[in-house]
Symmetry: C2
Subunit: 199 residues, 2 copies
């Protein structure tokens, strides 16, 4: 039998740990990394190391940053009275791409899921309450994912905020732009109907 | 506008240079590498670096190895009279998986392609001739890919070897096992018919 070459096997198995990369793709990528100029492979290895070294959570919002504060928290031109609550740091980039929101963010770093043993104390809800106590936030937009855990998390937070003088909103559900009625699932369609607007 | 975080953008763009990884997937992988335990990211970076440091071409066959000779060239139990010529080092692994070949290999590191300016002198044909001159090789199996460049390379080498007392063979073409007549292209089918065998 062909004895595999240890450094290649090791690289393949490390690549196969990435999401969406199967063992065949991992092997192809490993060979690719052996074929490219050495500098390119080094740049990738270095980019991984550097990203882990330099990127950390912003101490205010919990989003990614490589500075002491993230660019959004540090930006005094943004509306500090509006706070968008998201599950993951990567959701900030998605929201920012819409160019419709000019407030600040709060990253929960997860969702409430009793089935997985994740309670309210495991995500950054306490930090959210601390920020709200400081007083100048007028609206909290709950932008957790529209799945079971995201909905449950949104409902939990909205109840918690009822006693506070703050408006709590949720992102609208409906048919995505460019979508198709025929291929829209019935739950989304029901939500779209319930949320219909006069034009 | 949201200013991107440089180390994340850099990691994404490095990942996007990998084959089959688009910019969206690259970004997802970059975020994944920020989310996993630091050790896992380090292991991947280290595996890339180590693979490039330790893996080099076997001086005899041109295949990958992290020793002075590759395991196959160093294996005296293998049949040194049979030589399988492949385009790339990764093709050795594919051949070995079939468990049908017990000879030695020769990696060309490419194919002849006048269109791309790749001539016979750019691939390891001279090294092949050197190995054949040493005399104890009785059969050369041309296992280049069944595409235009692979065929041209096989034909070129077979002509070159005509003057030598060595049997030159080519891998059979035909319908792949588990394949389907209906979905087999006409060229493969024509080859399968031409190469039909009595049963």
């Amino acid at each position: 039998m062909y004895s595999t070459i240890e450094p290649i096997a090791r690289l393949s198995s490390q690549l196969a740990r990435l999401p969406g990369i199967g063992s065949k793709t991992a092997q192809r990528l490993a060979y690719h990394l052996l074929d490219v100029p050495s500098a390119q492979a080094t740049e990738l290895a270095d980019a991984i190391t550097k990203a882990r070294e330099l990127v950390h959570d912003c101490p205010i919002c919990g989003g990614y940053t490589d500075e002491s504060l993230c660019a959004i928290c540090a930006d005094t031109a943004r509306d500090a009275s509006s706070l968008c609550v998201v599950q993951d740091a990567r959701d900030i980039a998605a929201m920012e791409k819409s160019r419709e929101f000019n407030g600040k963010y709060h990253v929960l770093h997860g969702y409430i899921s009793p089935m997985d043993g994740i309670g309210p104390e495991d995500i950054r809800i306490e930090e959210l309450m601390e920020r709200l106590k400081q007083g100048n936030i007028l609206e909290v937009i709950l932008a957790t994912n529209p799945d079971v855990e995201g909905e449950a998390t949104a409902i939990y937070i909205s109840r918690l905020l009822k006693s506070l003088p703050v408006k709590v909103t949720r992102l609208a559900h409906g048919i995505p732009i460019g979508g198709n009625l025929e291929y829209t699932d019935e739950i989304t369609l029901a939500r779209a109907l319930a949320g219909r607007r006069e034009i």
